[in-house]
């Protein structure tokens, strides 16, 4: 895998993780998108170095071809990511129309149990 792809994928994962840990839902969704891009990039890089187009020619040595499989895999993955991101955006919009805010609040159950602890002490 070329080092540019590796570094870019790492940056995408890091930025995505940072955004997922935010309170605003819109940022979380952008973060998820970045992480998915990072994963797709790793998949694209997994096929090794680029080479000549993988059109079978019996006379040419097999070593010079680029790997066609990971491109097929990454296309599938991109389509899946695209679909689910669209679904997630629709869900976030519904949540926003229902709750009136984009902020992810504390989990009610966690809050209840945490309150039990503070009252005792």
């Amino acid at each position: 895998m070329s080092w540019i792809i590796a570094v870019t994928a790492g940056l995408l994962f890091a930025t995505g993780t940072y955004l997922i840990l935010q309170r605003l839902l819109s940022r979380i969704i952008v973060g998820l998108g970045l992480i998915a891009h990072g994963a797709n990039l790793v998949l694209l890089g997994s096929g090794g170095d680029p080479g000549s187009p993988p059109i079978v020619d019996a006379t040419a040595p097999p070593a010079g071809y680029s790997d066609p499989l990971e491109q097929a895999l990454v296309l599938t993955a991109i389509v899946i990511t695209f679909g689910i991101t669209a679904f997630l955006l629709a869900l976030a919009y519904r949540s926003w129309t229902e709750m009136g805010s984009d902020e992810v609040e504390d989990d009610a159950e966690d809050r209840r149990i945490a309150d039990l602890g503070t009252h005792r002490s």
Binding site: G45, S46, E109
Partner: protein, 490 residues
Amino acid sequence: MTTAATLPVIIPLIAAAAALVATRHLAIQRIVGITASTLLAAVSIWLLIAVDTEGTIVVAVGGWAPPLGIALVADRLAVLLLATASLALLAVLVYAVAQRATDEELGGFHAVYQILAAGVALALLTGDLFTLFVAFEIMLTASYVLLTHGSGGKSTRSALSYVVIGLVASALLLTAIALIYAVAGTVNMADLSARLNDIPPGLRRGLGWMLFLVFGIKAAIFPLFFWLPDSYPLAPTPVTALFAGLLTKIGVYAILRTQTLLFPSDGPVTLMLIFAGLTMAVGVLGAIAQKDIKRILSFHIVSQIGYMIMGLAFFTVAGIAAAIVFTVHQIVVKASLFLVGGMVEESEGTGTIDSVDGVAHKSPVLAWLFLPAALSLAGFPPFSGFVGKLALIEAGFAVDGWVIIGVSLVVSVLTLFSMTKIWGGVFWGKPSSGTPRPIPLGMIVPTAALVIVGLVIAIGAEPLVEYAERAANDLMDPATYRNWVLGVVQ
């Protein structure tokens, strides 16, 4: 005959398309859905018998022979879980149709339900790591839709956390597959099992744990289970029962398959045993703190996953056979418990232990359905949970796993305690005021059918245990799996 192994994926997909065409006609959707689920169950049971007597069925999809093309591999483990899952799918669907005022009446429920069934079948049958990823996506996307379908307000928000966790896990799974492809140059699992032997052991172990981690999120293993008790109870009962019975178990299946085939170990894996023990203990302690039937049961899903991982972690034929028996028992029992819990909510209007009393007097049928399933969950003899736990503990004796045996026994007692809490709080006591709403027969019959399947597992334990041992023998022998898959000439 071999193409029959593709039917469990094709039947639900065709039904989903048909249900989409008939979006405006609920009656047609119901007929299509129930017919497809019945067909799926029939084909799966036929496959179960055929595979056991005549050997593993391998289909090279599109005529591309493995390892180049995608292979569907119907081996003993896959068809056993497929048959159990298809029975649960059918029972839950009948229950959903009979239940009043559910999402089922909104358009699209039946189509999404069948797509989920296709995803489950594909995940079980595939012999290809990338197709396993795609199957998980099909299954999870359908589950996102079912979870958020008719909900509003708070439950949309909780469903969002389920979707976000699912997406992060999917991205990690994709990354793990990419790294495996980068070192081994193939995603066919039979081919991989040979090629991964040649890579450095440290790298191999790292990749193995990465796959364990991502499937661990899907299977809700400690410490990656927090999303489950927050999201499952909010869904409508049939959806929760389906998720509880199937989704986490498919995660466990993926762990079983990848760890035995791709990353086999020579002896018990201590780290995996630690995760198994913590999953059991933390899950059951969480359940004890809860006050709502569905939330209690959701924490028990987590706790029981620990037992399955325990069986795998021994890495012996006996241990894996026990894990398989336990998984089959869990699919049936968990689904039936949630269905009973849903009927209590349906008849009393709430599932909170404090506000419901004396259901045993008001609706004795519910009590009679709950009791065997609850005792089975706790591992009380002679119910099906006992068979699974006994096999696990025997497997533990064989490898001197005293600590994990101790933990599993204590957790069993705590599970029993938690079940008596539901029993004492909901079923016994002076009947609370207000007349219960009558429960449609269409909800009782599928639940009773699942409870009876659970009892049959207990009574007919010997054939099941023997079958599981044969399946575990197959799993522990990757060379045979390679011969099946790579020997196919189309």
